[in-house]
């Protein structure tokens, strides 16, 4: 199954029984990272110190730990080593967030076995990719958002006759909700209303669903973008970033 159309139903169920532990002593960054992960549909627990994090582990083992390197008290590297030394958590991947320019810290964390090291302030796209790579068997490379955007299929006007819309959007594709999906491999010319702009995209149908068949319990088609102008591509990226970071900012 391609990236745009992986089943949300099964993912939702799986995600419900897992959670990620976020460790950060800076309240603003803790808030930012935790809200982002929840908007990516992950479940989380938060800890302000490594000591708090270690107290949480016996309660329920997380599927991933995301920690800042600099913490009040024990630092993120020591936290990772403690987790590695405990059989219950030895296999839990750890992503470490490091102050930009701290190359020594970055190298030490990588050498010690961190799944990934990211510079602070961490960008939404980067953390999404790192988390997916660490915990998913088929990791996605780009953020997808549930949305509702108006769309026109200019070369097949009948498709939007009954209220078609974009219901899932990523930088590289989308799910177009329609009762009259075109068959796979059809090439479509689309116009999407994004805020007050209209962007034009060439896309190809990857999967086509009648009612009840699809991953989003709605009929429609998964599309992969095959041609967009660099400006429109940037508008989409910016739109997605704004949606997932609305009201939250890193320090």
């Amino acid at each position: 199954m391609d990236e745009t159309t992986r089943s949300t139903a099964s993912v939702g169920y799986d995600r419900n029984s897992r959670f990620m532990l976020v460790v950060e002593s800076d309240a603003n960054n803790l808030f930012y990272t935790s809200m982002l992960l929840q908007r990516f549909d992950f479940r989380i627990c938060m800890a302000a110190t490594a000591e708090e994090a270690l107290a949480m582990v016996p309660v329920a083992v997380p599927s991933l730990v995301i920690t800042a390197l600099d913490l009040k008290g024990m630092n993120g590297l020591e936290l990772m080593q403690k987790l590695a030394g405990n059989p219950a958590t030895a296999s839990v991947p750890v992503i470490i967030l490091i102050k930009q320019g701290d190359l020594v810290g970055d190298k030490r964390c990588r050498d010690a076995g961190a799944a990934e090291c990211l510079d602070k302030p961490v960008q939404a796209e980067q953390i999404f990719r790192a988390v997916e790579a660490a915990v998913e068997t088929t990791p996605r490379s780009s953020i997808r958002i549930r949305t509702r955007l108006p769309v026109t299929v200019t070369n097949m006007p009948f498709i939007d006759a009954e209220g078609a819309s974009v219901s899932v959007l990523s930088e590289h594709g989308m799910f177009l909700r329609t009762q009259r999906p075109a068959p796979p491999d059809t090439r479509l010319s689309l116009q999407i209303g994004l805020n007050d702009r209209i962007i034009s995209i060439e896309a190809v149908v990857r999967s086509s669903y009648r009612i009840g068949e699809g991953p989003y319990s709605e009929p429609g088609m998964g599309l992969q973008f095959v041609r967009t102008s660099p400006q429109d591509q940037e508008l989409i990226r910016q739109f997605i970033r704004n949606e997932v970071t609305r009201g939250i900012t890193p320090m």
Binding site: A9, G12, N16, S17, F19, A27, N28, L30, F31, S34, M35, Q38, R39, R43, I44, C45, M46, A47, A48, E52, A55, M56, V59, A60, R146, T147, R148, L149, P150, V151, T152, E162, G163, S165, S167, R177, Q179, Q191, G193, I198, I211, G212, E213, S217, E218, P219, E243, R246, G247, I248
Partner: protein
């Protein structure tokens, strides 16, 4: 092309602040709230909670009475005094038997006061009542359960099944919903048990009607064996609490009540 508003946006941008000095209960309560489909922010101390609420106001604060640096009651007063959070409803969680603290919370105007260990249903009802314009009374889970309608098994190949379940009703995804007010005989397969109920159709949705609404019908149970209702209630509770449990000990009750 008309802009279509998105009702999920608002849900995504709001969150509940959870404060509890007991790590186990902090994890338990915050995981439950996430399984109720709320976003959360958690704090083990009042200082962390206040630092976090200063960044962005939550829609609700759920605090335990026991916090290491000040009492939940004092945290509540601090929130009420701050103009940024004075309007935010607060649910207090106190140790069962600590009637004095519960009374103080109630008199000071908390949205509700719950006993520890928190019961799933009580938490759900309290949260719904505190922040939803149309609060639900009964916990519901999204699920995929096979169901027969008047003896006919719905086609799972066509995606027809029960997708939402509570102890009082069900949502059935189908392209052929029955008319509103129709009485139907349902058999639902819940965890290897066939549960038979009589239900009445409350609402129906066709394709493309309602944002994010899948076609189908919402039904209310009008006749169900009390044992079956209890079985469904248990099933929902198990699903929601999978892998997490509240603190077994009530060790904070002594220092707290001094």
């Amino acid at each position: 092309m008309a802009e279509i508003t998105n009702d999920k946006k608002e849900i995504m941008n709001r969150f509940i602040m959870v404060a509890d000095g007991d790590t186990n209960d902090l994890v338990y309560t915050s995981i439950l709230l996430q399984r109720f489909e709320y976003h959360v922010c958690t704090a083990k101390t009042a200082a962390e909670a206040l630092a976090m609420t200063a960044i962005a106001p939550p829609v609700l604060v759920v605090t335990a009475q026991f916090l290491p640096d000040m009492s939940g009651y004092d945290l509540f007063l601090r929130l009420k005094l701050d103009p940024r959070t004075s309007e935010v409803p607060v649910i207090a969680i106190t140790h069962a038997g600590d009637l004095l603290t519960a009374q103080r919370f109630r008199e000071a105007g908390v949205a509700s006061c719950l006993d520890k260990p928190v019961q799933v249903e009580a938490l759900y009802t309290a949260v719904q009542a505190a922040i939803e314009s149309k609060p639900r009374k009964n916990l519901r889970i999204t699920t995929v359960l096979p169901v027969t309608v008047n003896g006919v098994l719905l086609s799972r190949d066509a995606g027809e099944c029960a997708t939402v379940l509570s102890e009082h009703g069900i949502y059935i995804r189908t392209l052929k919903p029955a008319l509103v007010n129709t009485r139907l005989q349902l058999t639902i397969l819940v965890k290897n048990k066939l549960v038979s109920v009589e239900a009445v159709v409350l609402n129906t949705y066709g394709q493309g009607q309602g944002l994010f609404k899948e076609p189908g019908m919402g039904l209310k149970f009008v006749h169900i064996d009390p044992e079956d209702r209890e079985f469904i209630r248990q099933y929902i509770r198990e699903e929601i609490t999978r892998g997490v449990a509240p603190s077994a000990s009530d060790r904070q009750v002594l220092p707290d009540s001094k």
